[in-house]
Structure formats: structure tokens, C-alpha cells
């Protein structure tokens, strides 16, 4: 009787070939994403690079393409991101601490969890409508930085809660047990051990969520952020514009010069995004190198 193992040599070449095809497909799919990004960057640079100079960064928008700049949009975006961070980070991290460390498993916790997951999938325009009703009209904040930041906070809160919870859950239970066994209260355990260990993960999630907020346009248009602003916001109650809105505004003009300006604005927006993602990667790498 021949062993079944001897027949393996017959099927092995075919299995090898299938493995190679699959590896090749994976490689192609991965690279297609990189290529797409490259095409986008080249295209945008070719159109926008000539407009990029110091004046572009330090000028307000103008009817004349040569004099138009992105100063108010860039500052508006920074204000918006600052405000969004100030609201969404404490709320989001606190909510995730509650859900992971304090909430007892049960109906109420499941309902909260399902709702947060659902909120993360709600289209941003819906948040815009909510912001318009709740902040712009309801709280009479008007078309202000505060209204924009609160709306953006609503938008990214679910993302922050979800990523922070994962980071907190990744802290080994043995650390909590060790701390509890020394007569610590839950708050002491959370403050001294769980949060420091989870911090890199929380920060990464927060920065990625903020990056999303930077690029969002729909909710800002909905709450009526202005498209032409020739001043800088001095406080949360002032009106503002933001990078994506300015880009949208320029891109929808007839004249070709403004399309170049839009491309230059996109370059600035991408630089801000790359910097933020770079910070996230840096934080993650640093925490991995340190023995945690």
C-alpha cells in the first residue's frame, strides 16, 4: 500500500502557483493605494506649486487671484482644531474610561456601546444639521468658531471613544490586579497605571480623529462657516472660515487662476494632515521602543 503522502508531489506545484498568485495580488492592491496618492500629489503640485509662496500663507482671500492668500482659512482651521480638541478629548477619554473601567456589564452599557458604534457611522452632513439646530440656533452661538468646534466634536467623539477604549482594553489585566492587591482604589489604579499605559494608543486615536475633523467640509458648510473672511478670529465667538471651505470656494470659481489657488490650498491642507499623522506615528514608535 502506497502512502498518501507520495501523492503530495503531484499537487504541490499547483499549490505553490496559487500561493504566488495570491501574494502578487496582495502586492498590487497595496501598491495601487500608494500610486493613487502619488498621482494625486503630482497633479496637485503641478497646478498649485507656482502659487505657493510666503505671500500665499500671509494674505487674506481676495477677488484678485494674484493677491489672494490662505491666512484666514489656515488660522480658522487652527482655531477650529484647537476648540475641537479642547472639547472632544476630555469628553471622549472620560467616556472611554467610564465604559472600560467603571460601567458594569448590562443592558445600559450595551445600549451605549451600540449607539456609539452607530454614531461613528453617521454621515458628517447629519452632524452639520444637528450643529445648526443645536449650537448655531439653539444655543445662539451663531456662525462662530465655538459652534464649529462643538459640531466637529460631536463628529469625532465616537471615533475618540472607540480608539481610546481599545487602548485602555489593551492594558494587561495583571497590572490592574497588582495595583488593586496593594489596596488601591479604582481611580488610583486608573490614574497611575491604566492611563499612562494606554496614553500612546489614546493619543494616536485622538490625532487621527482630529485629522479627520480638519478635512471635513460638509458640516461646516451646513452650520454656515463663511467662505470669504478678511480677518482672523480673535476668540471662540468670532466667525471663521477653514481650509476645506476656502479650497471649495476657489475650486468652484470660473477662472483658471483660482483653480491653481485651490490646488495650493490642498497642498497646505495635506501638509497639515501629514504633520499630524507623523506626530501620531512618532508617538506610537516612541512608546514601543520604551519598555512599557
Amino acid at each position: 500500500m502506497t502512502s498518501w503522502v507520495e501523492t503530495v508531489s503531484l499537487t504541490l506545484p499547483r499549490r505553490r502557483r496559487a500561493a504566488r498568485v495570491f501574494a502578487l495580488a496582495c502586492r498590487l492592491i497595496t501598491w495601487s493605494g500608494v500610486v493613487l496618492l502619488g498621482v494625486l500629489l503630482v497633479h496637485v503640485s503641478r497646478e498649485g506649486f507656482q502659487w505657493l509662496d510666503w505671500d500665499f500663507l500671509t494674505s487674506f482671500p481676495s477677488r484678485f487671484a494674484e493677491r489672494a492668500g490662505i491666512k484666514s482659512a489656515l488660522m480658522g482651521t487652527l482655531w477650529l482644531i484647537g476648540g475641537t480638541g479642547a472639547v472632544s478629548i476630555p469628553l471622549g477619554v472620560a467616556a472611554s474610561i467610564y465604559l472600560e473601567e467603571y460601567a458594569r456589564p448590562g443592558r445600559i452599557k450595551s445600549i451605549i456601546e451600540i449607539n456609539i458604534a452607530n454614531l461613528a457611522g453617521v454621515p458628517s452632513i447629519v452632524y452639520g444639521i444637528l450643529g445648526l439646530a443645536l449650537f448655531v440656533r439653539g444655543m445662539a452661538l451663531g456662525r462662530s468658531v465655538a459652534a464649529g468646534a462643538l459640531t466637529m466634536s460631536l463628529l469625532i467623539l465616537p471615533v475618540i471613544v472607540i480608539t481610546s477604549r481599545e487602548a485602555i482594553r489593551a492594558v494587561p489585566g495583571s497590572i490592574r490586579q497588582a495595583a488593586f492587591a496593594l489596596g488601591a482604589t479604582r481611580w488610583q489604579v486608573t490614574r497611575d497605571h491604566v492611563l499612562p499605559a494606554a496614553l500612546p494608543g489614546i493619543l494616536t486615536g485622538v490625532i487621527l480623529a482630529m485629522s479627520r475633523a480638519i478635512g471635513e467640509t460638509a458640516p461646516l458648510i451646513m452650520i454656515g462657516a463663511l467662505t470669504y473672511v478678511a480677518f482672523l478670529p480673535r476668540g471662540p465667538a468670532d466667525s471663521f472660515t477653514a481650509l476645506p471651505i476656502q479650497i471649495f470656494n476657489w475650486a468652484s470659481r470660473q477662472q483658471a487662476e483660482f483653480h491653481g489657488l485651490a490646488a495650493a490650498g490642498i497642498i497646505i491642507l495635506l501638509v497639515v494632515l501629514f504633520v499630524m499623522n507623523g506626530v501620531a506615528v512618532y508617538i506610537r514608535n516612541r512608546s514601543q521602543r520604551k519598555p512599557q
Binding site: R104, Q177, A181, L182, G183, A184, P291
Partner: protein
């Protein structure tokens, strides 16, 4: 009086303090523990003598760790777990309504199966427990004393500020013991403290136990019977959540009164 589970022959009281024992620091009275509908501990009564090493042995899943974790209320964190009966620590019921589990854990320390130092410096590992509990004395002295008692001082005295994660497994476990000692507990519970260590580190931990029992009461759970025989003064044999036999270690291992104990300690266990 020791309560005896109705399933047992009334003539034998397996949990009563063995002859020659000192006064009991911990008295378990007819303790039963359920995970949901599943009974993990069934009517266990036991008196843990002061400043002695008591070993709890038994096959995997017999409830040794569950029983141990009742003593400092670490089971509180397990949802769906229910206790009946009493555990008295210095004549106070650990489960009485006015007892704060945090206070229980201050006085009854614990060392876990896998070394679990905090990802902090060696110094901070030792001082964290006292610090959060309002220790006002000389921190450096407390750290040195605790590490010395845990037989670790000489190895780490020049790198107290280094991360505890850079220590070997055996050193980490001794650091965890030092961390428990820094709280100056009355009882130290050890849940298979050497099971993840190599034989050399295990021997060091066992030597350390002999030193520590002069000052502390130690309850150690182990599935290693040679270890129980080597280090403990008293041994409790647990099977399927029931206390089969409790007595002086020498007697339990050489002249067991119950057949099931004999089968287990001689390795004839099914």
C-alpha cells in the same frame, strides 16, 4: 465551632486547626462560592494559623485560586460570582457590609502567578502602594527594607531607577514580593508564585518563604506537590471545590487520613 458540610461524615472535621497550631489568623467557615450556577467551592471550613506557611494543593480547576482570592476579596471583580459562609480575619468578617475591600487588601497582600511588575522603575514599584495609601515615613528606607526582605536588594541596589521590566523573571517575582512586603501586610497570599519560573529562581523563592514566615502568615497555592511538601507547615487538599483534608504537611503527605488525599499525593490520582 467549625461548621461542617452536611455531605461529610459528622465525625471528621477537616477544617479544624491541626494539633500544635498557633492561633488562627484567618478562619473560613462553611464557605461556598458560585460562578453563576456553577459551584466552585463547596462548604469549605479552614483555620489558617498565624506566622506559618499554609499550602493549598489540588488538581487543576479544584478551586484553589478561587479560594485564595476570597481572602483579600480579589474575587469582587469577577461578575456573577457569589459567596456564602464566612471568612474571619482577626475575628472580623471580611464580607460584612461595613468592610471596605480596599482596606482588606491593605492588610492582606498578594503575589500572582505570573510576575506582574508595573512598567515603572524598581523603586516606584515598591513605593507605589505605600505612597497612594499615605505613607509619610522615610521612603528610601522602606524600599531598602522591603527589597532586602525579598532577597533582591543586593542585585538591584545600583539600579533602583531602572525599569522593573529589565529584570529577569525570578527577579521580577521577588520584586512583586517586595512590593507586597512594603505594605507591611499581615498575610501574604501567593497564587502559584513559582510556576512560571525556572528551577533556580524557584529555589530562591522557596528559600525566601522560610525567611518570610518569621514575620508573616503565608498562604500559598501550588500544583507542585514537592513544593508544598518542602515549604509548607500545613497543607490543605482541595478537590472539586471540597476540602478533603487539612493538617500538618508532614502528616498529610506521609500519613494521609483520607484515601483521596493519599491517591493524589502519591501520584495515583486519576
Amino acid at each position: 465551632m467549625t461548621l461542617v458540610h452536611p455531605m461529610r461524615p459528622p465525625t471528621r472535621e477537616p477544617g479544624s486547626a491541626p494539633a500544635g497550631a498557633r492561633s488562627a489568623i484567618l478562619e473560613v467557615e462553611n464557605l461556598s462560592i458560585w460562578y453563576g450556577d456553577n459551584r466552585a467551592i463547596n462548604g469549605v471550613s479552614l483555620k489558617i494559623p498565624e506566622k506559618r506557611i499554609t499550602a493549598i494543593i489540588g488538581p487543576s480547576g479544584c478551586g484553589k485560586s478561587t479560594l485564595l482570592r476570597t481572602f483579600n476579596r480579589m474575587n469582587d471583580f469577577i461578575p456573577g460570582l457569589r459567596c456564602e459562609g464566612r471568612v474571619r480575619f482577626q475575628n472580623r468578617d471580611l464580607f460584612a457590609s461595613g468592610v471596605d475591600p480596599v482596606e482588606v487588601r491593605l492588610r492582606i497582600g498578594m503575589v500572582f502567578q505570573k510576575p506582574n511588575p508595573f512598567p515603572k522603575s524598581i523603586y516606584d514599584n515598591v513605593i507605589w502602594g505605600p505612597a497612594i495609601n499615605g505613607f509619610r515615613g522615610d521612603r528610601d528606607r522602606l524600599v531598602e527594607e522591603s527589597l532586602t526582605r525579598a532577597a533582591l536588594w543586593d542585585e538591584v541596589k545600583d539600579r533602583l531607577k531602572d525599569s522593573a521590566l529589565g529584570l529577569s523573571g525570578g527577579q521580577q517575582q521577588r520584586l512583586c514580593i517586595a512590593r507586597a512586603l512594603a505594605m507591611q501586610p499581615e498575610i501574604i497570599l501567593m497564587d502559584e508564585p513559582a510556576s512560571s519560573l525556572d528551577p533556580r529562581s524557584t529555589a530562591r523563592i522557596e528559600d525566601l518563604l522560610f525567611e518570610l514566615k518569621k514575620l508573616y502568615t503565608i498562604v500559598i497555592v501550588t500544583h507542585n506537590m514537592q513544593q508544598a511538601a518542602r515549604v509548607s507547615d500545613f497543607t490543605a487538599f482541595l478537590e472539586s471545590g471540597e476540602l478533603i483534608e487539612f493538617g500538618e504537611t508532614e502528616q498529610v503527605f506521609t500519613r494521609p487520613k483520607v484515601k483521596r488525599t493519599e491517591d493524589y499525593v502519591t501520584g495515583r490520582f486519576g
